[in-house]
Symmetry: C2
Subunit: 514 residues, 2 copies
């Protein structure tokens, strides 16, 4: 709620200095303003694409779900049932790329939360999928339902997160009821675009129904456009497991969005080179994308990759490295080759919310931004290569994302901004611009005002206790949680959803499938 904070500060100024202009920055529908960077020449990108097609044709993909193999076989792919291997011809891939939508209008719980995914648009998600949570007050622990709810509130708070991510696993909620808990929370606490895990058809159908009930959607309304999404990780190299394949099919058939993400670490489950790893990732993404289009042509699907490298001395994953950066660039070139919206990821391997964590995350972020990524996941809060999400790091990274969002708004250099008469001419050599006409008109609105960064001088900062950014972030998230108010929602819908949950819980819930 950056805008609300600014209003409060403006009122604090008093009416005598009411500004003539209003600061009005939209962080909700962003366009990527950065020029795209290419790491490989076009002919090498074509070679990578060609090699990925060859990989699918000659080496094949192991597809563990029989229904998925049937879909591939019915479309003409060569399937070896004994080995569960599927060999996908380029004609199938090319048809899938052609039928996949180039622009996906995502429908949130309120119209000002809607956004469109296409090449050129820019969406951020906080770090996702961690088993642990950490903060400076309560320490590192297995994530709980309370952690899930608190992260959800923080994600809702910052406009720069346009999508909800599954930040942490609420491990104290039984697995057969967990999807009720997370879906209920998303419906009650936020009107942003929600996320559902693909852990088998029963859970996915429950989630779809809860969303439709909560938001008052008919079955046709629901299927008409994407109201939610899932993330599909292939098992690199070249394996598509049962719940992931089922998720691709279920989401596609219901018109809901899959974000496909081969998670490949160069030197471990992928070739050691950027080019080799991205070739593998591209092949796997194309296989998964093809399955969505076989399940339902035109189904909304987001191409993606998450490719970084391991430390070759220890085998440990590393993030925010030069190779990670280059992999994002290469994936962006391939996404543009396909013409599809796509996701990439930032992230950090650091074990604490420290300078390493900040620098890795921001370095990876710039790789995604300059790669033209449509959705940037793990853009805030991720530590330990995804094993933990940090409350403080989320607050710190959100500051960087806000600043990126400010850059999306651009700047002007018209006569009023250059200000020859309203600024330059008004000040003598050695003077200052605090009181020029131009400054008076703009001083409350010209600059981004941080929620975390502190500009006090050293003496003042020391008098206030020498609190570093990490510890200041604790106060920020505590304040956000203490003042959290959920957005207005349809209460009868929510009540109906709660009834549904009570009934399904009484029936025994739905355990995850694997």
């Amino acid at each position: 709620m950056a805008a609300r904070g600014r209003d409060r500060r403006r009122r604090g100024r008093g009416a005598e200095a009411a500004p003539a202009t209003q600061r009005n920055v939209n962080y909700r529908q962003l366009r990527n303003p950065f020029p795209v960077m290419e790491v490989f020449p076009a002919d090498q990108i074509a070679d990578i694409h060609e090699t990925a097609l060859r990989t699918l044709e000659e080496l094949g993909v192991k597809v563990l779900l029989p229904e998925a193999r049937r879909l591939f076989a019915a479309a003409g792919a060569r399937v070896d049932e004994a080995s569960e291997m599927v060999f996908i011809g380029r004609d199938l891939v090319e048809a899938a790329v052609a039928s996949a939508p180039k622009s996906i209008a995502c429908r949130a719980g309120a119209r000002h939360r809607d956004f469109t995914l296409e090449l050129g648009s820019l969406v951020f998600q906080p770090g996702a999928g961690a088993p642990n949570a950490t903060d400076l007050e309560r320490g590192r622990r297995p994530a709980s339902g309370q952690d899930y709810l608190e992260f959800l509130k923080l994600t809702h708070h910052f406009d720069v997160f346009q999508m909800i991510s599954p930040q942490v696993e609420p491990q104290d909620v039984p697995t057969h009821l967990r999807h009720y808990f997370t879906t209920q929370a998303q419906m009650e606490l936020t009107d942003k675009f929600p996320f559902f895990f693909s852990r088998g058809t029963p859970q996915v159908m429950d989630c779809f129904e809860m969303l439709a009930v909560a938001r008052g959607l008919s079955d046709d309304d629901f299927r008409a456009r994407p109201h939610c999404y899932t993330i599909i990780n292939t098992n690199s190299p070249r394996t598509l497991d049962i719940p992931m394949a089922q998720g691709l099919i279920d989401f596609a058939r219901h018109g809901q969005m899959s974000i496909i993400t081969p998670f490949t670490l160069m030197g471990a489950m992928a070739p050691i080179t950027v080019a080799g790893a991205i070739t593998l990732s591209h092949a796997e993404a194309l296989a998964a994308l093809t399955l969505t289009q076989l399940a339902k042509p035109g189904a909304p699907v987001c191409y993606g990759t998450f490719t970084s490298n391991v430390d070759m001395k220890s085998g440990a994953p590393a993030f925010g490295t030069p190779s990670h950066f280059q992999a994002s660039l290469a994936a962006g070139q391939l996404a543009r080759h396909l013409g599809l919206p796509w996701r990439s990821a930032a992230g950090s391997a650091s074990n604490a919310n420290d300078v390493q964590a900040a620098n890795e995350n921001q370095f990876g972020l710039w790789g995604c931004l300059m790669a033209g990524a449509t959705v940037i996941i793990h853009s805030a809060g991720w530590l330990e290569g995804g094993l933990t999400v940090s409350f403080e790091k989320l607050v710190c990274d959100a500051e960087v994302l806000n600043m990126v969002a400010e850059l999306c708004a651009g700047a002007q250099a018209g006569r009023a901004e250059i200000g020859f008469d309203t600024a330059l001419r008004e000040v003598e050599p050695g003077g200052h611009f605090f009181a020029t006409s131009q400054t008076m008109e703009r001083y409350t609105t010209e600059f981004y005002e941080p929620h975390l960064h502190d500009y006090a001088n050293f003496g003042t900062w020391a008098e206030r206790g020498s609190v570093d950014a990490n510890h200041r972030a604790t106060a920020v998230w505590r304040d956000i949680l203490a003042n959290f108010e959920p957005p207005a929602q349809d209460q009868p819908g929510l009540d109906a959803m709660r009834d549904f949950i009570a009934r399904r819980t009484a029936e025994g819930g739905a355990p995850p499938e694997s």
Copy 2:
């Protein structure tokens, strides 16, 4: 010495796993690989340039040095001696831009340290000009001669710093002898391109002579190319003080390089808008640049700006902000408009080497990189908006700069890198790539190996004491200093320089002029 560190690690692997390829990354002569970003359309950049010319013609610049006013007057500028105002016609500015070299070959103390400044090349300097030093062991204190020497050794150590900067003021060295101390240290401890302050002709002439003596250069050799540089800050708005004007003249007449840097803070000593502040900065830079070319046509001069914003609530300077980023972009557009090499700056307002410090510095850095800056100053170590340089922050930021330098090297996607036969085909679904032919050939050389970032998992990291990056950086700089060896230098030259210092010291030295 990144290369040396890698050699050590390679040897540690043992001969049985000798790699077929060698990691060989040159951090010394970098080209900027990032696409340039524009913040304003070309017609608005032309308007800014035009308004800057109008500012020089109609509003004028206050020039405190009589000799400089005489040079301007002799060339046809209108000079009002009573007010010390100089009104510079666009013909003079345009002639100066035409005669300023577009490419500057900088001569260091060894040929592998030479570099060229021109649009497209990329040079980093650590944070400069701070009165204070800080580290986690000794705390924050007024900088001393020892601090100066230690920072110089750290700057020499990291190849990614191609130029020496005046990181801290050695405040325990008397001001009339300080330039002997800093010049001697630069000649003895490093063969990188040195920096001299412009604090009056006597000090500058001393420095020139010490360099020529130490490096065995005749007067003609010395004047033939730039062997050193100075940084010239205008006093914004629109004032050029005595030592700065004198420095421009002295360096130009001796063929040495000035880097011109109007240091303008939007909303304080510059207009509150990016467009207005950059118009002022551009006008001041053009005035200073014109003076160099009047002193000696063809003198090496680097265009520059350092423009960020203040916090309008407190008036405190802020760095690494969206406005700072946009100002770098605008300055880059103007530099390309002129065709000249140029400097920009990163930096941080944080009071500690924390997440704020990391994020501000890296955010500002990307602004400079995407602006196509030739020289990026304050790229490592700067805290408190330049009041302090931190040993730990220098080490932390150098990691980021090394990763940027790695990106400068690019990547390949030829047949060997894609590796269909040497990697993709060798691994079955669900397998790993640790032992493929491609991995075996490349595992010691494929990835950047950090000096600071730690990829240990949480358990191992905790067992080792949960040391964050800031505290690990202490160990890094202590290790560098403990193992420092100066490069081979001409000993008779250094002896002669020491004799010169002894003689000049006995004569009373040279106090700074103001």
